[in-house]
């Protein structure tokens, strides 16, 4: 290898590294801008606020990363959050007064059972959608668009349109508690992200996710169980949405059918800002965490700067597009 060639290679590597770091660079730039405009932005309290605010849709965005990696999409997550939150609430309350009771004496159940109910509801919802995608080969966009209205309808039916609120302390700890200075939902988010990272980078299942997203036909020909992977991935995002629903209900001390509206787009935005391609096969959990933080920082910073609500909407849209454009620009340089 000549010196020129070696130089070229190291330059290419540097660009590739930059490409990976692009979302992080953008995030830091945003933080610096906000901090210089309003120093209170950097208060530890505010930073933990951002983390806590990000954590619930962050958990969902982690699941969404898997789905997008296999070229799928899930528009139903917001509805599943609402539905599973209501399932948790119903179990925690032991039923709904005047409509149906789950316990003989009208007393509620332990938070663990409530959490289990939420996660189970979410996972089953995901699994059903996964079946339609994998077995009926209906495009994921359609299945989950349908799922979005179906699960919202079920949520409305469960709660009869109204909220269910007022849970015990132990239930509330999962959304509002702290361990030291760190809010519990942040820890849950961190744990989910860490596990997902290990699964994606170090296990056969994780690599199969990338293979299916990169070339589903080739994956099938290589002996990868493509339907199985697809099913598992949708079950997984269902799991994440169920968990998110439980944490949200706990944090709000209330569950209702309109909860989680719009989470699908926020979660997808976090994944894509984090550098995962909508065409599948490339990206990962680390990027998603950064993408989720970026979204959180953006919303928090604009409020702290007292930007008018209408202008906020305009800026949020523009900055999200700019973030992804920046990412693509850097990645193109590395070609």
């Amino acid at each position: 290898m000549t010196k020129a060639q070696a130089d070229e290679l190291s330059r290419a590597r540097m660009y590739a590294l930059l490409g990976k770091l692009a979302p992080l660079i953008f995030l830091l730039a945003l933080v610096i801008i906000f901090a210089s405009l309003q120093p209170r932005f950097l208060l530890p309290l505010n930073l933990f606020n951002i983390l806590r605010q990000v954590s619930i849709y962050g958990i969902i965005a982690i699941g969404m990363t898997f789905v997008i990696l296999i070229r799928g999409i899930d528009l139903s997550v917001g509805a599943v959050v609402a539905m599973s939150g209501l399932c948790a609430a119903v179990v925690a309350k032991g039923g709904i007064e005047g409509r149906f009771m789950l316990s003989a004496d009208g007393s509620g159940y332990h938070w663990a059972l409530a959490a289990l109910a939420a996660i189970l509801a979410g996972t089953v919802a995901g699994l059903l959608q996964g079946m339609a995608v994998a077995w009926l080969s209906v495009p994921a966009f359609v299945v989950t668009l349908g799922g979005m209205t179906v699960f919202r309808g079920i949520a409305l039916t469960i709660g009869n349109g109204g909220p269910i609120s007022g849970f015990d302390e132990a239930f509330g700890w999962w959304g509002r508690g702290m361990i030291g200075p760190v809010p519990v939902p942040v820890l849950i988010f961190a744990a989910v992200a860490l596990i997902a990272w290990v699964v994606l980078t170090q296990t056969r299942f994780g690599r199969a996710v990338y293979a299916v997203g990169s070339n589903p036909d080739a994956a099938r020909l290589s002996g990868i169980n493509v339907s199985g992977v697809t099913l598992s991935v949708y079950a997984l995002i269902g799991f994440c949405s169920g968990l998110g629903g439980f944490v949200l209900a706990s944090r709000l001390n209330s569950a209702e059918a309109v909860a989680g509206t719009g989470y699908e787009l926020t979660a997808i935005a976090a994944v894509v800002i984090g550098g995962t391609s909508l065409y599948g096969g490339t990206g990962g959990v680390a990027g998603t965490v950064i993408g989720a933080l970026l979204t959180g920082v953006l919303l928090n910073g604009l409020v702290i700067l007292n930007v008018s609500p209408y202008t906020q909407q305009i800026l949020v849209g523009l900055i999200i597009v700019a973030a992804v454009a920046f990412d693509h620009f850097i990645k193109r340089q590395s070609r």
Partner: protein
């Protein structure tokens, strides 16, 4: 916290439900106007976007920012309680407007006209106009939305209690939007063998959409349509007879009262006589049009 003094600079956060509904746009505008009159009051506005987590995030940001007071129309009474408590613990005075939060006794005041009560007024107006009973179409708001639920519940409470002669022949969701209200009404009118006597809608937009559907079918004047909110367009329609009535919750008054109460407390430590400052909703018909808050906007 100690009173800041008579002419102290005051910063407050205003977080209404959503700016997609003119009701809250008007409330906020009037509130800002009052703040201007008071002088030295900086109003920071955040759009709740009908999302409790969004509103919580906005309030958390405001606490960090160190505002002196918060005026809040909570998306969800229970969900917002913890963050409101947090704000109060941080020495920030909180006034709720339009609707209360649950279980935070230290809230300075709740300046509100209950949606449930307003819908009762809507129902009573129907009973008054149709003492012998009526066939009723009910246009509900966004399914699951708190406002939609309250307004639906209030109307049902009165009309169900008034006897079996009040029959709900169709109940559908119009999502608070004019086009959906129009579409759903068109469909309902076709689906019903007999023209209903009354249409009640959970907001003015849907009522105005329904009025158009009724008009297009040549039924103008044969169906009494009841809106809700007292918006400019609705008042015009009441005046012209397209709507039978609309419910005014006096959002402007609520906004003004909220901000003056809050600022008085921050500057001078005066508390209102009661923590509940209730504004009674009024059904506005052609007869009492002058009572409507926004009547000045519709011209002659």
């Amino acid at each position: 916290a100690e009173p800041k003094g008579k002419d102290a600079e005051v910063t407050i956060l205003v977080s209404p439900l959503t700016f997609a509904f003119p009701h809250f746009v008007f409330l906020t505008d009037e509130l800002k106007d009052e703040a201007n009159k008071l002088g030295g009051v900086t109003v920071v506005v955040a759009d709740g976007q009908l999302s409790a987590p969004k509103q919580i995030a906005d309030i958390e940001a405001a606490i960090v920012q160190g505002v002196d007071g918060i005026i809040l129309a909570p998306v969800e009474a229970d969900a917002l309680a913890p963050v409101v408590q947090q704000a109060i613990d941080a020495g920030i005075a909180v006034v709720t407007v339009d609707r209360p939060v649950n279980g935070v006794p230290d809230v300075l005041a709740n300046v509100a006209a209950d949606n449930f009560k307003g819908a009762e007024a809507q129902g009573e107006a129907v009973v008054k106009a149709f003492p012998d009973g009526a066939t009723i179409v009910n246009l509900q708001g966004i399914p699951g939305d708190k406002t939609a639920n309250d307004r639906n519940g209030g109307a049902h409470k009165v009309l169900d209690a008034a006897g079996e002669k009040y029959v709900f022949v169709a109940e559908q969701a119009g999502n608070f939007s004019r086009d959906k209200g129009l579409e759903v009404t068109e469909n309902i009118l076709t689906g019903l063998a007999e023209v209903p006597q009354v249409i009640i809608a959970a907001n003015d937009d849907m009522a105005l959409g329904a009025a158009q559907a009724v008009d297009a079918r040549g039924l103008k004047g044969k169906v009494a349509i009841y809106g809700y909110d007292g918006s400019e367009d609705a008042l015009k329609a009441v005046k012209s007879g397209d709507l039978a009535a609309t419910i005014d919750q006096f959002p402007g008054l609520q906004g003004r009262t909220a901000v003056s109460t809050l600022v008085a407390f921050i500057r001078e430590g005066t508390r209102p006589e009661s923590a509940e400052v209730l504004v009674a909703p009024v059904a506005i018909t052609a007869d009492n049009l002058d009572q409507a808050e926004r009547v000045g906007q519709i011209g002659e």
